[in-house]
Symmetry: C2
Subunit: 209 residues, 2 copies
């Protein structure tokens, strides 16, 4: 039975860490939604505030106890977790497989890049919001500070690959470096990408330039 | 909007095909089940015969109209398609994500290698079968004839990688060559692997040795 043991890659990365480069850990994202203040009120009621239940890897970000339902032309997905705090624009992040279930086009985008993305209907306990755009499949990326990037001879916006070993090992290309002052070192991929390479939350990946 | 257009990799593979090597197309598998004759009768009734509704890529294999329900300690998955014809041993093929939902261990195996795999409860319209083993996440593999393998300087059981380009491009390692006389050239990966690399049914991949 596979026990998720450390692989040769993991050990190589540990060696790198001895040269003062902390290993790149993975944070695996399932489907979730970021709401604007206006949409939060429409779905949950006027003046509503999100209730944080778990801090996320990026400073200030949290999972809330609130969930919404996504309603597409071909299917419905219930209990989609709302992440906080509220943002300037509502953004729904789903898995590629979810787009088939919902019956909407698949748009792979970095967070915040919502031009020419499909819409969806959101249902909450106090109301419904019909989005004309904002549903993305998140493009894989690595958060870090500009200092982290500099030490690795990387820069914000650079596109790299990540490698992982083991029984379902492989390489994922087109991973975008997102370097900013509040960036906590973490490689974000979604559940399908993680499952395809048998990567778990906290697994260590190697950057390939 | 991403349209699944042909990529540079696809075109490179087309060039290979001009050298008389047909391109390696992908068949994407969702969760499904192969039943033994005995289990078919227990689930659907004595003397029951599967009703084929669609031929699959491998000669003689078909999707049937019959479905069963998988019941694990933590969750249930309904409408799991039965593939035919019946086999000597029942084998359930699920996605990695399904194992979390069902609450069973994840065992990545080639078809037929069921030692030390988890069991599950199967429910059909006429009965229930409690399997003590047989649930696998299929190891990715490429079917071909020994002649196909020979022309590519490959052999049965060899482990290769596959490459795919495009927006979610990458490489999947540990892909097993399965060469036998009835093998129709087809690379089998599951839905999560396909979604992670934005591969579709019929996409063309490149073999890397």
């Amino acid at each position: 039975m596979d026990k998720g043991l450390w692989t040769k890659n993991d050990l190589q990365n540990l060696l790198h860490s001895e040269q003062d480069l902390p290993p790149i850990t993975v944070g695996v994202s399932g489907r979730h939604i970021h709401l604007s203040k206006e949409h939060l009120c429409e779905l949950f009621g006027e003046g509503y505030k999100l209730t944080p239940i778990k801090d996320l890897s990026q400073p200030g970000q949290f999972a809330s106890k609130e969930c919404v339902t996504l309603v597409g032309p071909k299917g419905v997905i219930e209990k989609v977790r709302v992440l906080g705090p509220v943002r300037s624009q509502t953004q729904v992040e789903v898995l590629a497989g979810d787009t088939f279930k919902l019956g909407i086009p698949l748009a792979i985008r970095l967070s915040g890049h919502l031009n020419d993305t499909p819409g969806i209907t959101l249902c909450g306990p106090k109301g419904t919001v019909v989005l004309s755009e904002g549903v993305i499949v998140a493009a894989r990326h690595i958060h870090m500070t500009p200092e982290d990037a500099n030490r690795r001879e990387l820069h914000d916006g650079q596109v790299v690959s990540i490698k992982f070993g083991g029984i379902r090992g492989g390489r994922l290309d087109n991973v975008v470096i997102r370097a900013n002052e509040s960036g906590a070192l973490d490689c974000h991929i979604d559940t399908e990408e993680a499952n395809a390479l048998h990567i778990k939350n906290g697994s260590i990946v190697e950057i390939v330039k």
